[in-house]
């Protein structure tokens, strides 16, 4: 029976199959003839995935029982000596196989079209909120099958195919809206740290999709097996009743699942980390921690927050931004470094009377004496960002818009990166709306005089900007357009002076590390995919005092993290792709090579501590300290 049904359904729908194949041939033709137009290929591919195949699924599903039902000939189906649920299921599987075959053809064709293959493999479709994506490949299979299942499930409720098609479309939209509002509200059950836990949105999205489709599936098969088809209204009510019941169960299952996740905490994640006066501070889904390096003691100093920005630490105080993902709100908090006296200083308010009306804090910084705090805030689009500053006790709050027409960009996002001893606040101005790979400028602002100085060089590779530990220097990289070269530059913040350290035709700056006494700057540049160049610049001698070529077998996408150890005499560096840590002497010769234990998976060097070096596992929320002398790994967190 199954074989005959498959054959029959395929033969009946062969026209749809071939028509869909013709469309795919047209797609291939267009992709080949426009291979140089990436955006066009992107549009084509997305159209196929997000529109064409779901429509095909809808069409196949809605036509499932058309031939039997159009003339009221459903009695014929039910008079056969086959259980009704088998009739339903055999049809479902047969038509699903047609849809999946078409998808398979498409994905096969994409393998021979490199650009399409790249789009399918690399594109991540935003599900919701930050950090959560679902691959286009997965969506490309899920969405058509989902649309097909919905349409198939209701296909016998009416004799008119157009009614089924429009009802299916309507249901898809309504379900999407309901799911959106349900998810948005249900997240209030989750702690903010869990919201950031990788995969939860994707899990929820997939779970909901499967549950909703299953509800339709079950309601349909039950109705088909048990309902009286001679009474159309009763049949529809029967279906509606079971659908409602199953959807309720789905919502309940989903909610219980979310509750379980909330209760059991979900996956831990380390968001940010900072070195201050030899101790490590970091935040995870479980809390804010301080690892006192000398005592080798870990202490929890605060409740969990999602904190993407670095902390600001100064004279016993600690300032940080906490992100509330569910309503896209950011709050500025200040507390003592032992976690006491925690208070909220700024947040985005919906009240027009509030000084923080519609202003999300975007970066914060404490003055070196800890007496003052400054932060930037982003208003709604089109308005200039603001710089706030006040005393740490909350008094004497001032603010000023940051708007410089000479910068030449309408929208930029300022980030405070330093507060010097001579009371200058140093800000980076990032371009909004772009990938953030270049800054228009560095801005120096004095809160007492409320004056500012701006540098107009375009700064490339913003993640390689490094402020020295005493906040007296800033090292950064920029592109010299005239000479068409990357330049590593040094900026003295106190007094303000610029100096070029290194000019060369390198591809990318891989790492920067200040010695703790601000006397030396180590840096590495990638000259080609396999050639690395490591150097040490002495501020006292104002020259590169040692350098070395490092070769690598294959390119590594991760930054090469370097740091100073053993009283700023030696360098430690970690290449995350190659699984070992190197210790280099003053002349940058390799003194030691320590292999990363396989059980630690891949590790990322954070910074050097008193006795060892702190590492974070890339895949898991674990911190390890490596004692470079004893070559021992000790788990810190």
């Amino acid at each position: 029976m199954w074989g005959k049904t498959f054959w029959k359904e395929w033969k009946e729908k062969i026209n749809i199959f071939f028509l869909a194949l013709v469309f795919q041939v047209i797609f291939v033709f267009l992709a080949l003839t426009h291979s140089s137009q990436k955006e066009f290929i992107e549009l084509l591919t997305l159209t196929m995935i997000l529109a064409f195949f779901p429509l095909v699924g809808l069409l196949l599903g809605s036509s499932a029982f058309y031939s039997e039902f159009k003339d009221g000939a459903w009695a014929f189906l039910f008079s056969r000596p086959v259980p009704k649920w088998k009739v339903w299921l055999s049809k479902y599987l047969s038509l699903l196989s047609i849809l999946l075959s078409l998808l398979a053809v498409f994905f096969f064709l994409s393998q021979v079209l490199p650009q399409v293959k790249e789009i399918l493999e690399s594109y991540q479709f935003p599900v919701q909120f930050v950090g959560q994506r679902i691959s286009l490949l997965l969506l490309g299979v899920l969405f058509p099958v989902y649309a097909f299942t919905i349409a198939f499930s209701i296909s016998f409720l009416s004799e008119k195919q157009f009614v089924i098609i429009f009802s299916s479309l309507f249901l898809l939209i309504i379900l999407d809206l309901i799911a959106y509002f349900y998810q948005k509200n249900i997240f209030s059950l989750l702690p903010p740290t869990l919201l950031f836990s990788s995969g939860i949105f994707k899990e929820l999205f997939l779970l909901l999709t499967v549950l909703v489709a299953s509800s339709f599936f079950l309601a349909s098969i039950l109705t088909f097996s048990k309902a009286d088809f001679s009474q159309p209204k009763k049949k529809i009510l029967f279906f509606g009743k079971f659908l409602f019941l199953f959807l309720l169960i789905s919502v309940a299952v989903n909610t219980v699942w979310i509750g379980a996740k909330a209760h059991f905490g979900g996956k831990d994640y380390i968001h940010s980390w900072q070195l201050f006066e030899g101790d490590a501070y970091f935040s995870s889904n479980k809390g804010i921690y301080k690892f006192a390096a000398k005592e080798e003691r870990l202490k929890k100093i605060g409740k969990p927050v999602i904190s993407f920005n670095p902390f600001s630490l100064a004279k016993g105080k600690m300032a940080f931004l906490a992100h509330r993902l569910k309503n896209d709100q950011v709050e500025l908090w200040l507390m003592n470094q032992d976690g006491s006296q925690r208070k909220r200083l700024a947040w985005r308010s919906q009240s027009k009377e509030s000084p923080f009306y519609q202003l999300n804090p975007s970066s914060c910084f404490l003055s070196p004496d800890g007496e003052k705090i400054a932060w930037t805030a982003l208003p709604p689009k089109g308005q200039a960002p603001l710089l706030f500053w006040m005393n740490s006790d909350g008094r004497r709050m001032r603010s000023r818009p940051l708007a410089w027409p000479s910068v030449g960009y309408k929208n930029f996002k300022p980030e405070i990166i330093a507060w010097t001893e001579n009371n200058n606040i140093v800000l980076l101005l990032r371009e909004l709306g772009k990938s953030g790979l270049s800054f228009p400028a560095i801005l120096i602002f004095n809160p007492e005089t409320e004056t500012s100085t701006i540098l107009t060089e375009r700064i490339s590779r913003p993640y390689e900007i490094a402020v020295s530990p005493g906040q007296n220097y800033l090292a950064y990289c920029y592109r010299n357009e005239t000479e068409n070269k990357e330049v590593l530059s040094l900026l003295s913040l106190n007094p303000l002076e610029k100096e070029k350290i290194y000019i060369d035709d390198f591809i990318v700056l891989r790492g920067l590390a200040w010695s703790r006494d601000e006397g030396k700057l180590a840096f590495s540049v990638e000259k080609s995919k396999t050639e690395l160049f490591l150097a040490v610049y002495s501020l006292k001698e104002k020259r590169v005092v040692s350098s070395k070529e490092l070769s690598q077998d294959e390119p590594c996408l991760y930054p090469l993290v370097i740091d100073w150890i053993f009283k700023n005499q030696k360098l430690v560096l970690n290449d995350p792709c190659h699984g070992y840590i190197q210790v280099l002497d003053e002349k940058l010769n390799e003194e030691k090579r320590i292999k990363t234990p396989a059980s630690l998976k891949k590790v990322l060097l954070l910074f050097a501590l008193d006795k060892g070096v702190l590492f974070k596992e890339r895949e898991r929320a674990r911190l390890w300290e490596l004692n470079l002398e004893a070559e021992e790994w000790k788990r810190v967190y």
Partner: protein, 291 residues
């Protein structure tokens, strides 16, 4: 075990309208059962419930003494069914259709299918969409008969057939089936056709069976009686067994079932001048029962 199908207290309503009410019926093997009723009396509804196409509101159906539910399907392997409007997949050829149906019936005999195709002059290669209504009915018959059913349920199957085929079916095919032990339940409104073949008669009216008798017995015991009186006809005339009465000034005409000596004696008590008794056709019997 002589019984093939038994229905107990079967009821069905569509909205406020009760179509069948506590219906009881027993069908024995090897006979031809006629099911008569006016349009809308529930014949097709009853057949659909037997075939598991629609569920009953209450009551039970037993096939070979085994209770069957709406979900059951295996018993249908032994039942051939010909609905009033046959349905086929238009794009199939006759051969494809037969092959497709063969997969559902374990007792399918391809040789029988070929035989009937030949008998009905149907070409296997023809597409179903090119068949006339009559040809479709013949094809429907072929499909039903090739499955070698133990029970054949026919819901007004012959109304579209040409005369030779209808005669062939009613005379020869039914005979062959009976010889093979097939039981037939035949619902039709072409009452005169049933007359030749029916052995047991059911008449549905007002949601219940108003007649459940062997046909020969019904034929024998149903009579039209004409009475003539001296003066006017009697006013009160309420006798059991009188199915219908027509009056003129001094004449009465009635259909009576069962006609027997007792009934004759009762009528004579009204002192008619004249009494004439005559037999009825099946059509007339049917009309009387449903009037």
């Amino acid at each position: 075990m002589n019984e093939i199908l038994r229905i107990e207290k079967l009821s069905k309503s569509f909205g406020a309208k009760t179509v069948l009410k506590n219906l009881q019926m027993t069908i024995e093997k090897g006979k031809v059962y006629g099911l008569l009723g006016r349009n809308g009396e529930g014949k097709t509804t009853l057949i659909r419930m037997i075939m598991g196409i629609i569920p009953a509101d209450s009551g039970e159906i037993f096939y070979k003494e085994k209770k069957i539910s709406f979900r059951d399907a295996s018993y249908k392997k032994e039942i051939g069914y010909i609905p009033e409007d046959p349905f086929f997949y238009d794009w199939m050829t006759i051969k494809e259709l037969l092959d497709f149906n063969a997969s559902f019936y374990p007792a399918w005999e391809s040789s029988k299918a070929e035989q009937y195709l030949k008998r009905f002059s149907l070409d296997q290669k023809m597409k179903v969409k090119n068949l006339s209504r009559g040809m479709r009915l013949k094809l429907e018959l072929t499909v039903a008969l090739a499955a070698s059913p133990e029970l054949l349920v026919l819901d007004d199957p012959t109304s579209g057939l040409d005369v030779p085929t209808r005669q062939d079916f009613l005379k020869n095919i039914i005979e062959e089936l009976l010889e093979g032990g097939t039981t037939i339940l035949f619902s039709t409104h072409l009452v005169h056709e049933l007359e030749r073949i029916v052995e047991h008669l059911y008449i549905l009216h007002g949601g219940s069976l108003v007649l459940d008798e062997d046909y020969e017995g019904v034929k024998e015991l149903t009579r039209r009686v004409r009475l003539a009186f001296q003066d006017t006809c009697p006013e009160a005339f309420d006798l059991d067994g009188v199915l219908s009465v027509e009056r003129s000034r001094n004449r009465m005409e009635m259909v009576v079932f069962p006609w027997n000596e007792e009934m004759e004696a009762k009528l004579k008590r009204f002192n008619p001048l004249r009494m004439e008794v005559e037999a009825l056709t099946l059509e007339e019997i049917f009309s009387s029962f449903v009037s």
